[in-house]
Symmetry: C2
Subunit: 332 residues, 2 copies
């Protein structure tokens, strides 16, 4: 019999963390307006692990709506090969909540040396905060998305700004509410998959970030469980050959433009994979979020669900989320 651990309560500070980021919105807008006035050419979201994962919703939004190019670059990919288009007129957005991830601190310096404007979400006084032109402290997944909304507003993109205002005000409580609604489903998934030798996690569009993040940060790093993430469309290019009724597959189905990709994967899994589990964001009520921007803000919910699912795994498997072999323990 597996040893278990008590299930932690839902993080008490979910709402506070998101609210803190929303509270920084005006300060973010000020920086963005300044960059736009000086001639914005492009935007780079830079990070490693969780901090690049958090940028998927923002990058996806800008790709669809922005009049300027937006890119995602892994911190050390930036450090080893600076993009030709990064320079004056570039806004480089980084995050590292400890503010100490060495490749991301180095990336801030690499970016700054090109003449780009560098902003970061990082602990006050941390090396990353020091390396950035402007640092913000809101410790949530929402930072990059707020930057994206302000960039769109500042560059005259078509955007229902009233709906965005309403959505950002409502989002902190709505995310917590969504996690509570999903609680029984998340408990079931952890129970169903706790002994699986490998778990495949699928997501599309902005939700791919937390498919990758669940596989890497939560299952591999924090639960020492084999896992692999795939884009729900790429799944059909090879990975789906691994599937039978006994394969553990978790599919995030977003409520955004990429939804048909999730639905296609679900149709296939319904037929060939009895063990598959689904989390469909459309099934969750998001109180106060206007329908017109649900696609843009709902990806934030997926990160919160992934985080909560990890706590259910911890409990069901009796494997503490804080245990590490190497991270922060050895040199690498």
């Amino acid at each position: 019999m597996t040893e278990t651990l008590p299930l932690k309560p839902i993080d008490a500070d979910i709402v506070d963390k998101l609210t803190a980021t929303v509270a920084e919105r005006e300060a973010i807008a000020t920086v963005v307006r300044d960059v736009v006035e000086r001639g914005l050419r492009n935007v780079y979201f830079v990070g490693a692990g969780g901090s690049i994962i958090c940028s998927y919703p923002a990058h996806y939004l800008l790709q669809q709506k922005a009049s300027f190019p937006a890119f995602q670059v892994q911190s050390d990919e930036l450090n080893t090969a600076v993009p030709a288009l990064m320079g004056p007129g570039s806004l480089v957005v980084l995050a590292s909540y400890t503010g100490t991830t060495k490749e991301t601190v180095a990336a801030a310096k690499t970016a700054k040396a090109t003449g780009a404007t560098v902003i970061a979400a990082a602990k006050a006084g941390s090396p990353l905060a020091e390396a950035a032109d402007v640092a913000f402290t809101g410790k949530s997944d929402l930072f990059e998305l707020v930057v994206a909304f302000e960039l769109l507003a500042g560059t005259g993109a078509e955007l229902d700004t009233e709906a965005v205002d309403q959505a950002l005000a409502a989002l902190p409580a709505a995310v917590r509410d969504a996690v509570e609604q999903a609680e029984p489903l998340l408990a079931d998934i952890a129970e169903a998959f706790k002994d699986e030798p490998i778990t495949y996690v699928l997501g599309s569009g902005p939700s791919y970030g937390w498919a990758y993040g669940l596989a890497m940060c939560f299952l591999q790093e924090m639960q020492w469980k084999h896992a692999a993430a795939f884009n729900s469309g790429e799944f059909f290019q090879g990975a789906f050959e691994m599937v039978d009724d006994d394969t553990a597959v978790l599919l995030w189905i977003g409520d955004d433009a990429s939804r048909p990709m999730g639905e296609r994967a679900k149709s296939f899994l319904d037929q060939y994979c009895k063990k598959a589990q689904y989390v469909d964001v459309r099934d969750l009520e998001l109180p106060g979020i206007p329908e017109s921007v649900r696609g843009e803000v709902s990806p934030i919910v997926v990160g919160a669900l992934a985080n909560r699912l990890a706590q259910h795994y911890e409990s069901a498997r009796g494997h503490d989320l804080e245990t590490r072999r190497y991270m922060f323990k050895v040199e690498y």
Copy 2:
């Protein structure tokens, strides 16, 4: 005892396929010059599975050297969310060797509807060839890279064009030569990893494509073996916690700007993972490839090595590379 299959000879047409793409270079240059003259704004590499994987070296090169933005977009991600910047002035580059991959054919039409110029590598007369403005038939990994070189030449980027000419002329034979040099190593890797329950494959920069491609196309699709690919830098953000001396990890170390990322991963694996296997492109002689462009063209070698490694797996495991459960067999 595992049943084995006879080892196939190295594909007789490696050289011919690459040579056929090089032979189309002038025709590619003509299209590119025309697009540049009409006002090139950006470039999108679009595909699914192998065809997006093939675009990593080209995308990486343009990111470092081009004066215009270059993006990679998965075919169905494009079909469900058209980027705001795609339109007149965009060059959209697709590939599908059968020319029938349905999401990629749809993506060509999606792109064309925006006013973009659409070019494709696809079988003559296939649906993708029909949907493109101009179709090329060279069936190799090199198509996107040739497009990238011609784009750089056509837009006045700093480029040692003589060295590029020399490299492209020498590359077909050099790739075959490199595969022959790597033959004993690839045989060892397949033998060492043939019974592993899961294999992690790492690569950085342009070689990430064939880390992902080896995991998905060759191990999962064609060998029904669990696998997961990681960027060699992202590995340290979580996946490395899975590693001990008994974990199967294959690391591609490229001979390009991202090499320090591969070296960092190798240092870690040398210490904590006795079972790790390495393929270092720097160890391979590439006859006729000038040193100054080795970083740009050597990633093409990685694709050929991945392909050959798959044949060694087939032999060592007795699992035919052509066997499928679903692909081309059921509706999805």
